[in-house]
């Protein structure tokens, strides 16, 4: 479920490195919580930072911190921000 969809340079949000950020490019619909996530700022075009990896993980968006299930974060795909060094692409963390 949490596979990295590699369309261009997009990464699943639960697969980026802690301390790095990305611009949201795709949000997969399907769960009602996705809309809550969007109204909290995790929506197209916004810059999101992964503060703490794991399940649940911690994001920072629009200056506020959010605790989010990894399952939900996997539905969000981001384009790594310019200037952030993304070395080799990491495999997504398994759930649980």
């Amino acid at each position: 479920m949490s596979s990295v969809t590699d369309s261009g340079r997009l990464l699943s949000l639960d697969a980026i490195e802690p301390g790095h950020c990305g611009i949201v490019r795709e949000v997969e619909a399907g769960e009602s919580e996705v809309d809550l996530l969007k109204s909290l700022g995790v929506c197209l075009g916004r810059k999101v930072m992964l503060v703490q990896a794991g399940d649940p993980l911690v994001l920072k968006v629009l200056g506020s911190r959010l605790g989010v299930s990894a399952r939900l974060a996997a539905r969000v795909r981001v384009e790594p921000c310019a200037g952030d060094a993304f070395g080799e692409r990491r495999l997504p963390r398994g759930i649980g």
Partner: protein, 669 residues
């Protein structure tokens, strides 16, 4: 009641307070209305609304506190209720005259998202830019005049916690009562159809551009302190350990601090009972007032200090921002039983009392998750079970501290295991579905407001006393009637004892006479209870209780403690002939009597098997009407309290049956 004001009967202004969760809405509401607020549910829902009154410029204003929201899109019941309320679509409530839109200055762009949706409704609005003090400290400089121009409505910078800006906000409210302006349409927000499929993006683009135009560019590093603290408190292992430490301290305080006021309440009711006992003439009225009303209501109100202290600390912890972290770190563990992390704090609270625990499940948004949590909360061993555990422990392991520790640990563990097991079972049967994935704001840490915590405590205490108190009163009277009617004459033996006591008193041996009178009273109460409806019902249900190792006297105890489980202690005292007052004065005499109580065949009643069976029964059985009343209030009907009563009674019965039969088959007791 609104005082008559010029301009007609309906001139009282209705102001709705709208804002994001964690934006300080409750604090501002309290600052505007003080203690003059009423908490009730929105009609036909279990969503709480508070209505308060404020006087602004000599004019009465009704302030309606809407639930905390991130958007008005109608995704959740809260969002729908808030939207309908703002549009005047709810029965019995007109459209608000004015919206006070609370915007968190430390998180402007996110808050502007909701603001844009509210402003589009076309209701005159006033923006309270809250937490400007915290924003200043983080070097965020917001030009409120510019923001007012962008939003097309007045913007008042406030710090609700310290009260700064609140007089100005009230002045603006007063102005609003005179001149009702229409807000200018927000031209900058593109209509959704211009951007099909991504209304969120359009709004946030707008919010970001407004935020950038109104905020002075500076070194923006807000929340560095929160980040540092969170490195520990949201850590998967350290965070759990820290949480357990916090909760341990809170519970130690609850049990330690509550002891004193609980003692006062207990003494107060006992004193009132004794005083009335002396003044009222003997008879049913006296018995009703002293035993039924004062005894029944006092037995429930004695838990009020624990409930208040628990709510006080929960409110403080929530206000600091810590409770969100607790839910965060517990989320992964709770998910294994199909519940969200937010269910954990109510579960801990349930160890003090299920009533505040059930009230605090409002933090769980998903209805199924919330219902499952409410259903299993009464299985956790609350403090009312302690007296019951204490007496059964003394029967199982007399004079053995180690044995007592073992019994208490086993009882608490059984409660926890049963609750988690039942939660998993409900999630697979009547309320199926995985726990909703976590989406939780982790607000910046801040010093808690004592005032907000005290208001919250006062509010919850009032609900408990009023709601649970009224039903408890009714049931106390019913139970009293069952135990008192039909009235019977004292047995011949008791009359003879009174006769001998009179002789002894005449001979000057007052102490011996008093002892005899007490013994005669105990015998009469025992006899009366046996002949009463309660005694008859006890005998009637005895065949059903026999496989559990219970006799009809224990049956009467279970019946009488239906409303409040700890009542079984005093009932057993009466039914086995110790006398209620003797049991309170020296618990030792109660244990001795219970141990000496025999069955018809001459064997002891309280064998190891019977005591263990009764203990397990009380770990698992509902036996608490306050809990049932609160469950009804929080779920909006009698269906769920009845499910709760039914499954818990069945669980308790089967578990006690298995315990007794297995112990007896293995030759223990």
């Amino acid at each position: 009641m609104a005082p008559p004001a010029p301009g007609g009967a309906d001139s009282e202004l209705l102001v709705a307070l709208v804002g994001n969760p964690n934006a300080g809405k409750t604090t501002l509401f309290n600052a505007l209305t003080g203690l003059r607020a009423k908490t009730a549910n929105f009609p036909g829902t279990t969503i709480e609304r508070r209505i308060g009154h404020a006087t602004v410029g000599g004019r009465h204003v009704r302030v309606l506190d809407l639930p905390g929201l991130y958007s008005l899109s109608g995704r959740t019941p809260e969002e729908r209720v808030a939207r309908d309320s703002l549009l005047g679509r709810l029965p019995g409530q007109r459209r608000p005259d004015l919206v006070v839109l609370l915007v968190d200055a430390t998180n402007l762009e996110r808050n502007l998202y909701l603001a844009s949706q509210v402003l589009e409704l076309g209701i005159p609005a006033l923006v309270a830019l809250n937490m400007v003090d915290l924003a200043e400290r983080s070097a965020i400089d917001i030009d409120s005049d510019h923001l007012a121009a962008e939003l097309g409505c007045p913007v008042v910078p406030v710090a609700a916690r310290s009260g700064r800006g609140v007089p100005e906000l009230k002045r603006r409210l007063e102005l609003a009562t005179r001149q009702r302006w229409r807000p200018a349409p927000l031209e900058a927000v593109p209509a959704p159809e211009e951007c099909a499929g991504c209304p969120f993006k359009a709004r946030f683009d707008w919010a970001e551009s407004v935020g950038m135009r109104c905020t002075a560019a500076g070194p923006r590093s807000p929340g560095a302190r929160t980040d540092r603290i969170d490195r520990f408190l949201t850590h998967p292992q350290v965070g759990v350990a820290a949480f357990l430490a916090v909760i341990f301290v809170v519970f130690a305080l609850i049990f330690w601090v509550a002891e004193v006021p609980m003692d006062w309440i207990d003494r107060g009711f006992a004193g009132a009972g004794a005083a009335l006992d002396l003044r009222l003439p003997d008879g049913h009225l006296k018995s009703l007032i002293v035993e039924g009303i004062i005894g029944g209501v006092g037995g429930v109100l004695v838990f009020l200090p624990q409930i208040c202290i628990l709510f006080f600390f929960l409110a403080l912890l929530e206000d600091t921002g810590y409770l969100a972290r607790a839910a965060f770190v517990m989320d992964r563990l709770m998910r294994r039983v199909g519940l969200p992390g937010k269910a954990f704090v109510p579960m801990l609270s349930a160890h003090a009392c299920a009533v505040p625990a059930i009230m605090s499940t409002r933090v769980i948004e998903d209805r199924r998750d919330r219902l499952v949590t409410i259903l299993v909360l009464p299985l956790f061993s609350c403090s009312a079970r302690i007296p019951v555990y204490a007496i059964l422990t003394a029967l199982l392991f007399p004079h053995s501290p180690l044995g007592a520790a073992l019994v208490f640990t086993a009882a608490y563990t059984l409660g926890i295991a049963a609750a988690l097991g039942m939660a998993a079972a409900f999630k697979r049967t009547i309320l199926p579905g995985e726990a909703k994935p976590l989406v939780l704001e982790l607000p910046s840490y801040k010093l808690p407001s004592l005032k907000t915590a005290l208001f919250a405590t006062w509010d919850r205490a009032r609900i408990f006393v009023r709601r649970a108190g009224s039903i408890i009163l009714a049931v106390s009277i019913v139970l009293w009637a069952l135990a008192s009617f039909p009235a019977s004459e004292p047995p011949a033996e008791a009359r003879a004892m009174r006769g001998r006591a009179a002789t002894l008193a005449a001979a000057g041996d007052g102490a011996a006479a008093a002892d005899l009178v007490r013994a005669a009273e105990a015998l009469s109460s025992q006899h009366a209870l046996a002949a009463s409806f309660a005694g008859r019902i006890g005998r009637f249900i005895e065949p059903a209780l026999e496989p559990l190792g219970f006799d009809w006297q224990i049956g009467v105890g279970i019946l009488s403690s239906f409303a409040a489980r700890e009542v079984i202690v005093s009932t057993l005292a009466v039914v086995y002939g110790v006398g209620e007052s003797a049991a309170e004065e020296s618990p030792g005499s109660l244990f001795d009597t219970l141990r000496a109580a025999t069955r018809a065949d001459g064997g002891p009643v309280f064998t190891t098997a019977t005591s263990a069976s009764l203990l397990i029964f009380y770990v698992l059985a509902m036996q608490c009407l306050s809990t049932q009343a609160i469950t009804r209030r929080e779920t909006g009907g009698w269906r769920w309290p009845l499910v709760q009563l039914g499954y818990m009674s069945a669980l308790a019965y089967v578990a006690a049956l298995v315990t007794f039969q297995v112990l007896r088959a293995t030759g223990i007791g």
